[in-house]
Symmetry: none
Subunit: 225 residues, 2 copies
DNA sequence: ACAAAAATGTAATTTTGCTGTCATGTGTCT
DNA sequence: AGACACATGACAGCAAAATTACATTTTTGT
């Protein structure tokens, strides 16, 4: 399994290369768009991880070049948080997945494995439960039609809960997916984050969706006692 | 389900081997990193439990060797509280898991079961008897379709009984699996716990499923007298 | 580049409800 | 009957989670 990363930010690039190597992948790293595109077009890679913002040719450019060369290789985009249009456009042009910076490494790994396994074309659908809806691409949340503004952490916490709705998620799992924390540090960030999320998503509505399972963790579900 | 433990500390190693055997796993135990790595690479195991500190090759070394051999077997690390933080960048942590020593045996068991599930991606593992159903992943119990809320202890007690349905389980076995104690006889926690579980699971239903075997322990079974 | 504002993390305090202990009741065996 | 094993209910201690306030970091707007 050979992966090409195109990322100009040194810190992120090195971090990715090292992490993915340790995870058992063969990794090449290009620091700018032109190198990146040339390497990508050699056709040696099983997967591309592209930053959108690049010197030379940007992520889309590489994507177009690769697709024009009729290569069917899966592509994962790294994009900045605010630029919604980028994501929409990127996906329309044939990216297979995207991640918003900053991201938890474990999340990246999970997406990469999933792409590697299933190949491309993972349909990205919206998540919902009861009258709560979450538009992944636009990063928008509504409950009974009303728009709710969530911060980055709140959003990815909710996203995780929803992706695994009905499952009780332990704090350590949540910590590893939403924060990039390794070991059980004695912090209560998660409790506080859940509190904040509840205030926005549950407080003014019925039924309550986020449930605490004492000693276990949190679930999102419709409680059908 | 075959597990390899690599642990040089004799006490911990034996404790793990015995506990996991009692829990119904097939267990091998290696006392140093070199033996451990060789055994691990035979590919016979479904899960590894590795101490990080080992004579010969340490836990990380074994991890790398295994990953280089392209084996996708889940790994659970045991680590001491003080060292760690710097050494581990949390890479791979999304895929695998860790525990900090000293740990509760029941905690270990829970992690192992969760890892085993992920590794195999096998269909949903539900336990049931008569009209009583227990969904491990969702941590949800129903009897004749009705949802029953159980506390942590109640849940793991019921889980144990169900995994061994039809077997009479002694108090000391129950104590070692559900509580992390060496059974000192002048406590009746288990009796009380069974009582509470019965109140929720048996009291309002027929037939009664949890049976007391005087002088022996408890069983869960459909009584065919 | 700076200050203001928002997001996020930390810490202290209150609330909640699980869980172990104990006292007592009930059935069972010799 | 007496001894024993288990059942049951009450209760208090305590750990987990909720909540609040505050500190710190990050983002935003000028």
């Amino acid at each position: 399994m050979k992966i090409l990363i195109v990322e100009d930010e040194h810190k992120t690039g090195d971090y990715l290369r090292q992490g993915l190597s340790e995870a058992g992948f063969v990794v090449d790293l290009a620091r700018d768009g032109i190198d990146g595109m040339h390497l990508a077009l050699t056709g040696e890679y099983d997967l591309l991880v592209l930053d959108v913002m690049l010197p030379g040719i940007d992520g889309w450019g590489i994507l177009q070049a690769v697709r024009r060369a009729e290569q069917d290789i899966p592509i994962l985009f790294l994009t900045a948080r605010d630029r919604v249009e980028d994501r929409v456009q990127g996906l329309e042009m044939g990216a297979d997945d995207y991640l918003i910076k900053p991201f938890a490494f474990s999340e990246l790994l999970a997406r990469i494995r999933s792409l590697a396994r299933r190949g491309k074309s993972k349909p990205i659908e919206n998540l919902y439960i009861a009258d709560l809806e979450l538009d992944i691409i636009k990063r928008r949340v509504t409950r009974s039609g009303q728009r709710i503004d969530l911060t980055a952490k709140e959003f990815s916490l909710l996203e995780l809960l929803l992706r695994r709705r009905g499952e009780v998620l332990s704090r350590s799992l949540i910590a590893s997916q939403v924060w990039d924390m390794n070991f059980d540090s004695d912090t209560n960030v998660i409790d506080v984050a859940v509190r904040r999320l509840r205030a926005k998503v549950d407080e003014a509505y019925e039924p309550k969706l986020i449930r605490t399972v004492r000693g276990m963790g949190y679930v999102i579900e419709v409680d059908e006692v």
